[in-house]
């Protein structure tokens, strides 16, 4: 199978390292801007919910962090799969970088959801709720991926074995997404991804989407930072890295 040129470019560690270094700050700046603006609009400008009152304002962080966790896992699985099939070390580096970020955001989604559940559902935690359970499994998948890697001294072996777990676990992501349609759960049905458009008024939808964009930029910024770290760790002794270090830019 012939692969396009950009694919080979993205297989080159110095190219990826520099590209990440150039893109990162812009993503970080965009993330800060969007998150500050979104938080302000969500907490101050947006009106209170007619049913839930002020507590609904968790809606500007809880679904977003949950979505980042799921996206992080899809990227992890996709990258691990590419790394496994084409033996591309950089793809494994992407998967490794996505794991701790995804785990932390999934944890955040579980905690903020729990805080939201207490006043609205009357419970912090419900073992019978499918979405909560599959979200918890997502957290365990991230942790499992990291623990499995740590069990191997040899990085190549860790790459290959952890990739299998990474790819298999991706079935969990669509289950989380569709859980509210497949089962009766405490969670509400889809609000944003509906065929007839989002069922949210625009003064709530705008900060909601600003926060989605802000967290997304933030995720990629963090991913690139970790990817740079991972590339440096994997390229110890490589000529380009020695030159970079000698230049003092490192």
């Amino acid at each position: 199978m012939k692969l396009p040129r950009w694919f080979h470019m993205l297989g080159s560690p110095p190219y990826v390292y520099r590209l990440a270094g150039r893109l990162g700050p812009w993503l970080g700046a965009a993330a800060c801007l969007l998150l500050v603006l979104g938080t302000y609009m969500g907490l101050v400008v947006a009106p209170p919910d007619y049913l839930q009152g002020e507590v609904y304002r968790i809606i500007y962080i809880h679904p977003q962090t949950a979505y980042i966790g799921m996206m992080a896992y899809v990227i992890l699985a996709f990258a691990a799969g590419i790394g496994f099939i084409w033996r591309l070390k950089l793809a494994h580096a992407v998967a490794v970088s996505a794991a701790p970020i995804g785990a932390s955001f999934t944890f955040c989604a579980l905690v903020t959801g729990s805080i939201w559940g207490a006043p609205t559902w009357g419970t912090f935690w419900e073992w019978g709720d499918p979405r909560i359970m599959f979200e918890l499994i997502l957290l365990f998948l991230f942790i499992g991926y990291m623990v499995l890697r740590a069990a191997f001294e040899d990085r190549d072996k860790a790459d290959r074995v952890s990739a299998i777990l990474g790819v298999v676990g991706v079935v969990n992501v669509p289950i989380i997404h569709y859980s509210v349609e497949w089962w009766n759960t405490l969670h509400q049905g889809p609000t944003i991804t509906r065929l007839d458009g989002p069922s949210m008024t625009s003064d709530m939808l705008v900060p909601f989407l600003l926060m989605v964009a802000g967290f997304t930029f933030c995720f990629y910024w963090l991913l690139l930072m970790r990817l740079q770290a991972e590339v440096v760790a994997r390229e110890q002794g490589a000529r380009w890295l020695r030159e970079l270090a000698a230049e003092g830019r490192a």
């Binding site: 998150l35 938080t39 907490l43 101050v44 209170p48 009152g53 002020e54 507590v55 304002r57 968790i58 962080i61 809880h62 962090t65 701790p100 970020i101 932390s104 955001f105 944890f107 955040c108 905690v111 903020t112 805080i115 939201w116 207490a118 006043p119 933030c218 963090l222 930072m225 970790r226 740079q228 770290a229 991972e230 440096v232 760790a233 390229e235 110890q236 002794g237 890295l241 020695r242 970079l244 270090a245 000698a246 490192a250």
Partner: protein, 62 residues
């Protein structure tokens, strides 16, 4: 202003959720930049030709 912080009685819920999210964001930024700095520092030290910064290459046999 005070009303804003009280969140109509939901202050503990709203502010703890936002606080935890902020903490997660800060942890992510801190840990990612620390990891990059540490790995670059290690690469820099390994690239030094000689001198005090250079660490002896000892392979531990386990």
């Amino acid at each position: 202003m005070n009303e804003f912080f009280l969140m109509d009685g939901y202050a503990p819920y709203v502010w703890s959720a936002y606080g935890i999210t902020l903490a997660v964001l800060i942890w992510n930024i801190w840990s990612a930049s620390r990891l990059r700095r540490q790995n670059l520092e290690r690469a820099r030290r390994a690239a030094l030709p000689e001198g005090p910064g250079r660490q002896a290459k000892v392979r531990r046999i386990s």
